[in-house]
């Protein structure tokens, strides 16, 4: 059963207020085309969960689509900070819940596996833990087997996750080259997954060992060549240095300058459905 739809159709299934899991990492494999389509549709009050944020989240936050961000940090590597995210936090327009990379990935893995909770030894003694106590997603316990202090965290289950894949068959079985960071845990934790991909292929052409996101959890597939640009897609294209530098400048200044930059991006990447 083919799940192939247009990008706008796929993104229209995400409602205002949805909890969205994103799966890019800093300057690589960001679902930029999908994020731009959400800003174009003026989606509002999103809650994002993403282990390491990068360009896609900085765009969505800068465009005012996001109320709350659950994350563990991030940047555009040496290109610069995620200024739109950082400014929104500093000025109080974005609520955040902040973890370590492992802790948030474990919460997503728990969501993926249906575990009622998951323990970790990370974050003990840190300001992260101090701030998280109020959010109600963490309980401090004693390990019943060793008696050591341990944190117990609730699972995360986004309404939908967005993945930009190298190839994907029409039923949603998707391949991912390079390291996979928390992509798989985020996808499988979500109630459903939207895949944008460089290329849609026929079922049966992907060796089953290579599939990273099983089509069983995918609700929509959209072919978007260069859908991760200006971030890098290993094996397909490099990051676009000039574009990333322009992003950092525009977000650093913010305001009108960012709006002009975003409009330019939306024009340059107009959707042809």
């Amino acid at each position: 059963m083919s799940k192939v739809v247009s990008l706008s159709e796929a993104m229209a299934s995400i409602e205002d207020g949805s909890h969205v899991g994103l799966t890019g990492f800093a300057i690589t494999r960001n679902a930029v085309a999908a994020a731009l389509e959400l800003t174009r549709a003026k989606r509002r009050h999103l809650r994002l969960t993403q282990v390491i944020v990068g360009l896609e989240t900085d765009l969505l936050v800068g465009a005012g689509c996001v109320d709350r961000l659950v994350y563990s940090g991030g940047s555009l590597d040496r290109f610069g900070l995620v200024h739109a995210v950082n400014r929104a936090i500093a000025t109080g327009t974005l609520q955040i819940e902040e973890y370590s990379t492992l802790a948030l990935t474990l919460r997503l893995a728990a969501g993926s596996l249906g575990l009622p909770f998951v323990p970790t030894r990370s974050m003990l003694g840190s300001s992260l833990l101090d701030n998280l106590r109020a959010a109600g997603e963490i309980v401090e316990q004693t390990d019943p087997f060793t008696g050591s202090p341990v944190l117990v965290m609730s699972p995360v289950r986004p309404d939908v996750a967005i993945v930009h894949a190298d190839t994907c068959d029409e039923e949603g079985n998707a391949t991912i080259a390079g390291p996979r960071w928390s992509l798989r845990e985020t996808a499988l934790a979500a109630a459903r997954v939207i895949v944008t991909t460089e290329r849609v292929v026929l079922r049966g052409t992907i060796p089953p060992e290579r599939v990273v996101v099983p089509g069983t959890v995918v609700s929509a597939v959209t072919e978007v060549p260069r859908g991760a640009s200006p971030t890098a897609l290993p094996g397909h294209y490099d990051y676009d240095r000039a574009w990333l530098e322009a992003h950092v400048e525009a977000t650093k200044e913010g305001g009108e300058r960012f709006r002009r930059y975003l409009e330019g991006m939306l024009e340059a990447r107009a959707v042809h459905p």
């Binding site: 300057i27 950082n86 802790a103 990370s122 300001s127 390079g178 996979r180």
Partner: protein, 257 residues
Amino acid sequence: MTQASQPWTPLEMLAVAAAGQVRDGDLAVVGLGLPQVAALLAQRTHAPTSELLLELGVFDPHPTGPSMGIADPRMWEGAAVFGGVLDVLGSMLHGGRVSLGILSAVQVDPDGSINTTQVHLEDGSLRRINGSGGGNDIASLAGRTLVVLRHEPRRFRACLDFLTSPGRAVGGRRRSELGLPGEGTVAVVSDRAVLEVTDEGTFLHSVHPGEDPEAVLEATPYAVQVRPGGPEVTSAPTEEELRLIRTELDPQGWYTR
């Protein structure tokens, strides 16, 4: 090894001094920036069987050129395995296999705890930085941790603006009381000196060639002890080390100039 005849930048010296803390055979998780350079430098010199891991799921990369960070595919070149966060920060680190973490910091305190999350500016505003990423996990779980930062007085804090990643103790509570494994921070390497961090406090272990110990102590506004006989002088970079940094690891000088 011959000493370099030419001068070096303070950050080249930092990279060399940090690399000197890596032991052959170390399994190391390294953060973005100078930690990458230091770990690769060690592997190319005195620690050939040390192995690097990147939190995003990369095992044993052997990059041949510079990269813009750990998310830059150039940094993954020659890797043995592409896995995920649960492999590197989970099975390797939380699972107790990682002997060394190398982290850069915005602020450090006398226990070797660090801040990479946010700074309160004098005008009362908040400057957000990168956050934890895997930094908290590495500092919490590695066998020992190495912290690198520029030697600016505002970075050495008795009380951090945000304690992102724990050192040997937090608020007087030792790691074991907190439930943390490992030794915690063993050294803070700056562009002026190497501070040794112990359960008995921070010691000025060595100052880099040309640095005055008193001036270094003055630029370090928290209690730093000096052992009888005074601090050593850090070994100067060798020609080979400078060649590796300048021609292979950081030819553009993004991190070391």
